[in-house]
């Protein structure tokens, strides 16, 4: 099954759309280190709303790379200080997340020295890779605070700690399918060697026998550069493959389909197919942690859009306020209509630019009204079916919309609502300009809530039934007891009766005896 994956053969993705590219602006201005901001705001939010526990308090001095928060459970990741300085606040603040969610944020006032904690460096050569154990690498992944840098922020070590399935393939996701975003492409251009090292480590950690390195077919000569390094290091189980630039071919499930022809089962994970998909940024971060000792405290962020004078990629400390990044890229604030974290298809718009960037913040987009504005008026759905043609999940978006609008949510579930990946292709093509994804998000959260409530009420029902049964049992027990007691009582009566009867008999006998005595007395007289 594994060896059948051929680098040349690609499979067709159903649906999908061709989008304008908009990537050249930020690429031509290259990659630079962003000077550290005066203050950084590090969010303690880990995925799915879990909050890490702060290990520092206001007034503490911290060093760059020091662990400042740890997760409550093993399902979270460590959070490190991204610069040296003093903790000046631990507060509730808007974070780089959808709806700009308020969460716990640690404010570090930087001292400008960028002083690192003691770093443990190991050169990643063949000898190291041969000697290190998978468990050590997985521990490193955990200690480095790695999460999926592609956008979902899933704690990376969890992918490697599942024992049920044997992993055979590592897919390296270098296919950034959203317009504007170039942080991954820039990373591949700048650090091909580190990437190869990281891939070898990830393969060792997962025991995958091969890796497929997926690139978009619109990238320049990255493929040959990476292949050159692979050849130099005499590696034969990493295949570099270009995939068509169709949105959303870079989505995890879609990429697996394009590369292997296999579909992740509905509601399942790539792990179910023996596949791990890893973003290039995450791989580079692992390589950095092992070779340089640096945990995940910085990432590459693309700043782009038509309101940015100097679009480019910055190596940015986690927690850096968006305003600081924008300031270094010639931001035209007045022209900006929407400020977006992420890409134009799935990114979320932020109310202002004070938020600190997160580990998953791959791009900051400033777009003017010219671009964000709709062409026509918002109208009712005419069921034109364009959305059906572009849906990569094979759904009927217009039917979902219809049912959700009519609050017929169970019908929407029947139409496979939960297989929607919220890529926004349907909303993009909609001639009636309907915000379709909003409907799906609403319905999903509503259904989850209803399920939760149903579960609760089911539990309550079970509890109620159990209580009824218990009461019934007690009643029966009491009744039985009473019956027994009654029987006993009846018995006493009988005994009493018997007793009194006997007593009577004795009395009678006594009386009879006395009578006979008297008679004899009388006779003897």
């Amino acid at each position: 099954m594994v060896s059948s994956i051929n680098s040349q053969q690609l499979y067709k993705l159903q649906g999908g759309i061709k989008l304008p590219h908009h990537k050249n602006d930020s690429l031509q201005n290259g990659l630079s280190h962003l000077p550290i901001a005066d203050k950084v705001y590090i969010s303690l939010r880990i995925n799915r709303g879990n909050i890490a526990k702060a290990l520092v308090k206001v007034g503490d001095k911290v060093l760059k790379g020091q662990i400042i928060a740890k997760p409550d459970t093993t399902n979270g990741s460590y959070i490190h200080a991204s610069t040296s300085g003093e903790i000046t606040a631990i507060m509730q603040r808007a974070t780089a997340s959808p709806e700009a969610d308020i969460s716990t944020v640690i404010e570090i006032t930087t001292d400008g020295k960028e002083q690192w904690v003691l770093l443990n460096k190991k050169p990643i050569n063949q000898a190291y890779i041969d000697s290190v154990s998978a468990k050590d690498i997985i521990d490193s992944i955990h200690n480095a605070g790695l999460v999926g840098l592609g956008g979902a922020g899933f704690p990376t070590h969890l992918k490697y700690t599942s024992n049920d399935t044997k992993i055979n393939t590592l897919i390296v996701n270098g296919a950034e399918c959203e317009p504007y975003i170039t942080c991954d492409e820039q990373l591949m251009l700048s650090y091909p060697e580190d990437l190869i090292s990281g891939i070898l480590l990830m393969m060792k950690a997962s025991a995958a026998s091969q890796a497929i390195f997926a690139l978009e077919d619109q990238v320049g000569n990255i493929k040959s550069a990476i292949e050159k390094h692979i050849k130099q290091r005499k590696i034969n189980n990493i295949i570099v493959t270009k995939v068509p630039t169709i949105y959303p071919a870079g989505g995890e499930k879609q990429l697996i389909k394009v590369l292997t022809g296999r579909e992740v089962p509905s509601g399942g994970l790539p792990l179910n197919l023996g596949i791990i998909v890893q973003n290039v940024g995450t791989i580079k971060a692992l390589s950095d942690f092992i070779s340089e000792g640096r945990p995940l405290v910085e990432r590459i962020v693309t700043v782009a859009g038509d309101c940015i004078g100097m679009a480019q990629n910055f190596i940015t400390a986690i927690g850096t306020p968006m305003s600081h990044l924008l300031q270094h890229a010639q931001f035209h604030k007045d022209k900006t209509h929407r400020l977006i974290i992420g890409g134009p298809m799935m990114g979320y718009s932020m109310p202002d630019c004070s938020t600190g960037i997160d580990k998953t913040t791959n791009c900051i987009l400033a777009l003017s009204k010219n671009i964000t504005q709709h062409y026509g008026d918002a109208l009712p759905c005419i069921r034109c079916g364009e959305c059906v043609n572009v849906c990569p999940a094979g759904l009927l978006p217009q039917q979902l919309h219809w049912y959700i609008k009519g609050e017929n949510l169970e019908k929407a579930r029947e139409h496979h609502l939960f297989d929607c990946i919220e890529c926004g292709a349907c909303a993009w093509v909609c001639p009636s300009q309907i915000k379709l994804v909003d409907y799906y998000r609403y319905a999903k959260s509503e259904l989850k809530y209803l399920d939760y409530k149903r579960e609760k009420s089911d539990q309550a029902q079970i509890r109620h039934e159990q209580r009824e049964a218990r009461l019934e049992r007690l009643k029966a027990e009491r009744a039985a007891k009473r019956k027994r007691t009654r029987r006993r009582t009846t018995n006493t009566d009988k005994i009493q009766k018997d007793l009194s009867a006997t007593m009577e008999r004795i009395q009678k006998a006594k009386a009879a005896r006395q009578d006979t005595k008297l008679e004899t007395k009388n006779d003897s007289k």
Binding site: D377, G394, Q399
Partner: protein
């Protein structure tokens, strides 16, 4: 923490495609142009008057309905959907039909079929087809007045004569009543068959061309051309038209092969009457059609089968409108039975 909102925080996607309902509808109108020109070429300028009338009535009824329902007139008139309904209706009726046919037809199309069902996107029936079916059943005589195409007609009506015919029911004295009625090829066949003529006798008549009626087949060709343009522009997909046309051929062929004297040939079927118009422009109406891809194929096949059954065994010469209306009714059921499997649900 309340924050001052500096930027717009609408949800993704942030770069909408330049697409709109109005653009869609106008493209549909554009795709009808070749057929309209062919119509003018073969049947005279009457169709222009009918198109204008139907569109004016459609827009008036649309505006009145919107006003009464308290919806934005400006917003919905701009979507051009009533405009397209008017065009499609006018292309179904005779170029010399009296003006009130359009009036009544558009009343039922726009007010009854569209707005009483909830307006744009909510109608169960295709408005143009419902309007057409109402006038076809109610006014059979007015609906069957057709002029033969110019090439075989002893007299061609001028624009003014067309106006007089439509508004005052006055026809030039050179045109006798016989020429004026029962003149569509499908009418001729229906009458011919009922008089025990053989199909081969009927179709060698002057009104018949290579595959359909003279003139008619060219209008049908132009609908086909316009339809291809719509497929190219991705306004419609190939599924419904292909299903209609191929099913029409496949379904009519056995009848024709068994008894060619009493049944219409497959080519005659697809190039006559409203089948080509219906296949590309009306059965593809997404609002009243099926949404799943499989459902669309079933929908198209159903339209074709109904059309042929009506043409061969029914009382009406053509059955496209009835076929479409019956399939409109079945569309929700077909959709329910053809929910596609989602990604990752394929049995593998």
């Amino acid at each position: 923490m309340t924050q001052n909102k500096v930027f717009n925080t609408q949800s993704a996607p942030h770069i909408p495609k330049k697409n709109s309902v109005a653009k869609l509808m106008l493209t549909l109108g554009l795709a009808l142009t070749p057929a309209i020109l062919a119509h003018v070429f073969f049947f005279g300028t009457g169709i222009i008057i009918q198109l204008t009338l139907a569109v004016i009535f459609a827009l008036c009824f649309e505006a009145i309905s919107l006003k009464l329902l308290g919806k934005s007139i400006k917003l919905f008139l701009k979507d051009y959907s009533a405009f397209v309904t008017g065009l499609l209706f006018a292309l179904c009726i005779s170029p010399v039909a009296p003006w009130w046919i359009s009036f009544i037809g558009m009343f039922f199309a726009i007010v009854v079929a569209k707005h009483l069902f909830g307006g744009l996107g909510q109608n169960i029936f295709n408005p143009a087809m419902l309007g057409f079916a109402v006038v076809l059943i109610s006014f059979p005589q007015a609906m069957s007045m057709w002029l033969p195409p110019h090439s075989i007609s002893p007299y061609a009506m001028s624009f003014v004569e067309n106006l007089q015919a439509i508004f005052f029911n006055q026809f030039p004295s050179t045109i006798d009543f016989d020429t004026l009625t029962q003149a569509t090829p499908l009418d001729l066949i229906k009458t011919g068959i009922s008089q025990d003529s053989m199909m081969s006798e009927i179709t060698t008549g002057i009104a018949f061309g290579n595959f359909g009626g003279v003139g008619w087949e060219w209008v049908a060709n132009m609908y086909f051309l316009g339809g291809l343009f719509l497929i190219y522009k991705k306004i419609i997909t190939w599924r419904v038209p292909a299903a209609v046309l191929l099913t029409a051929i496949a379904f009519s062929l056995p009848f024709y092969l068994i008894d060619p004297d009493n049944f219409i040939g497959p080519l005659q079927h697809i190039f006559s009457g409203g089948l080509m118009l219906g296949a590309f422009f009306i059965a593809t109406d997404p609002t009243s059609g099926c949404s799943s891809h499989k459902g669309q194929l079933i929908f198209g096949a159903g339209v074709a089968i109904m059309t042929i059954l009506v043409r061969e065994f029914g009382n009406f010469p053509d059955g496209v409108a009835f076929g479409i209306l019956i399939m409109n009714m079945s569309a929700p059921l077909i959709d329910r039975l053809t929910i596609p499997k989602a990604f990752g649900q394929k049995d593998k």
